[in-house]
């Protein structure tokens, strides 16, 4: 069980870090973009919210399989397949939790509008400088919300990890899958412990998000 918890924490942390970095430019473009392409990309990003995780898992499995065109660059590096590997889980989790990172950031960037960035440009700050010194700190609470949501959502995912991970102990066996195994094999006491732990963790995470949100609504400082 400890092994599963450790794998889960590692997976959720890595997913959170990668996803915040990936979601930032995506959310920025979605907040600033115009026209049809923005709606198309927006819908694609939101897709994991409505798709059954098994569908996502199925396609990822096909993509990760040896011989799949997406694996060609990895095969050259000596890793013919990402299926049933920890790395594969990370990629799956990033896609699965994408909307939970992009949406809060996009909302924050849309809400701040162009005004603060224009003021920064008028103070000789280039676009990147202005992003890191103005937009990022102004959106910091949304980053906290996004991080907590992604972390918690990754801990809670089941369908995707089961299909592409295969529950290999120490590698791809995470708590949500472990939970299933414990119940299946009637290890009720352990199941109780894990379940209660997850309930407490999830509640604490959501509480954090709501407290951040309320503070953000009150304004800065």
């Amino acid at each position: 069980m400890t092994e599963a918890i450790w794998t889960t924490l590692k997976l959720a942390t890595l997913t959170t870090v990668l996803l915040l970095a990936l979601a930032t430019p995506l959310a920025w473009r979605l907040a600033r973009g115009k026209g049809l392409w923005r709606d198309v990309v927006g819908a694609l990003v939101a897709l994991p919210l409505v798709l059954p995780p098994t569908v996502l898992g199925f396609y990822l499995l096909l993509a990760f399989a040896p011989g799949s065109p997406l694996m060609a660059p990895f095969a050259a590096l000596g890793a013919p397949s990402l299926a049933f590997t920890f790395e594969g889980l990370v990629v799956g989790s990033v896609i699965y939790s994408l909307p939970f990172a992009v949406q809060p950031l996009r909302n924050a960037f849309e809400a701040m509008g162009d005004a603060p960035m224009e003021a920064a440009a008028m103070s000789r700050a280039g676009p990147l400088d202005a992003f890191f010194t103005i937009a990022l700190p102004m959106a910091r609470r949304s980053y906290l919300s996004a991080a907590v949501l992604v972390f918690a959502h990754t801990v809670g995912e089941f369908g995707v990890v089961l299909m592409i991970g295969g529950a290999i102990p120490g590698k791809t066996d995470v708590v949500s899958v472990k939970m299933y195994e414990l119940v299946e094999s009637s290890r009720t006491a352990e199941a109780h412990m894990l379940a209660a732990g997850l309930v407490l963790f999830s509640f604490a995470a959501l509480l954090c998000v709501y407290v951040f949100d309320r503070r953000a609504a009150k304004g800065f400082r």
Partner: protein
């Protein structure tokens, strides 16, 4: 006092309407831009700053900011901009805001940090959050931020618009004092005719998306001794008479 030439020839559509700005005049002291609201005064300033883009050409002194495909991005133009809505950053104190601009300033130093702070009376506000200040205080900070970026051209977009009558008068005399000290040409957008009379070395009139006229000489103040209301009325009447029919 340096008097760089502003040579501008812009024409095109933006915000769903047509604009055509063209002028070629030396800028020194205060140039007031007047015109009815919606005439295109702010668009004119935004084009000069590079925040909006209309096809054409802008030359300021010996620098070309825009010509054909060349478009110098806003942060590389030596322009200071005071926005009507102040646009102070909510996550910074007054001190951090001023330092932000001062640290990124390029080119000749025209005004010092201490001088700016005392000129604008910002000393007691330095450690307060920029957005926790009153409207007039916020606008003073915004002016400080703009001049500490050491601009070669200072653009003010109706800085008194959000203020009540008393603070308006106070802000006006502050801006008058400021422009007396600064060696930087100022473009000052206002729809208030009294502002125009008090501050202007020359006046650009904008109407229906184009520059309708340039009045070059500083008017001696013929309204001296009249009440503020009378001056206001007179100036409005004078301005209205000079405007092309809408």
């Amino acid at each position: 006092m340096t008097a760089p030439n502003l040579d501008m020839e812009l024409a095109g559509d933006a915000y769903g309407r047509r604009f055509a700005f063209s002028c070629n005049l030396p800028l020194s002291g205060v140039t007031v831009i007047t015109g009815p609201s919606g005439a295109g005064k702010s668009t004119l300033l935004r084009c000069l700053a590079g925040l909006s883009r209309l096809p054409g050409r802008i030359r300021m002194g010996d620098e070309t900011w825009q010509d054909g495909r060349l478009f110098v991005p806003p942060h590389e133009r030596e322009v200071g901009f005071v926005f009507q809505d102040t646009r102070l950053w909510p996550h910074m104190t007054v001190r951090e805001t001023l330092t932000y601009a001062a640290r990124r300033a390029r080119g000749a130093v025209r005004v010092g940090e201490d001088e700016t702070i005392s000129l604008l009376g910002l000393a007691p506000l330095m450690d307060r959050s920029a957005t926790a200040l009153s409207g007039g205080e916020q606008q003073r900070v915004a002016i400080g931020r703009a001049i500490l970026s050491q601009p070669a051209l200072l653009l003010l977009d109706e800085p008194t618009a959000g203020l009540d009558r008393d603070h308006r008068a106070e802000m006006l005399s502050l801006i008058a004092r400021l422009t007396g000290v600064l060696d930087t040409p100022v473009l000052y957008v206002t729809h208030d005719a009294v502002d125009a009379v008090r501050l202007a070395d020359r006046r650009i009139e904008v109407a229906e998306g184009r520059i309708a006229g340039v009045v070059l000489d500083r008017p001696s103040d013929p309204l001296e001794g009249l009440s503020a209301e009378a001056r206001d009325g007179l100036a409005r009447a004078a301005l209205a008479a000079g405007l092309p029919p809408a």
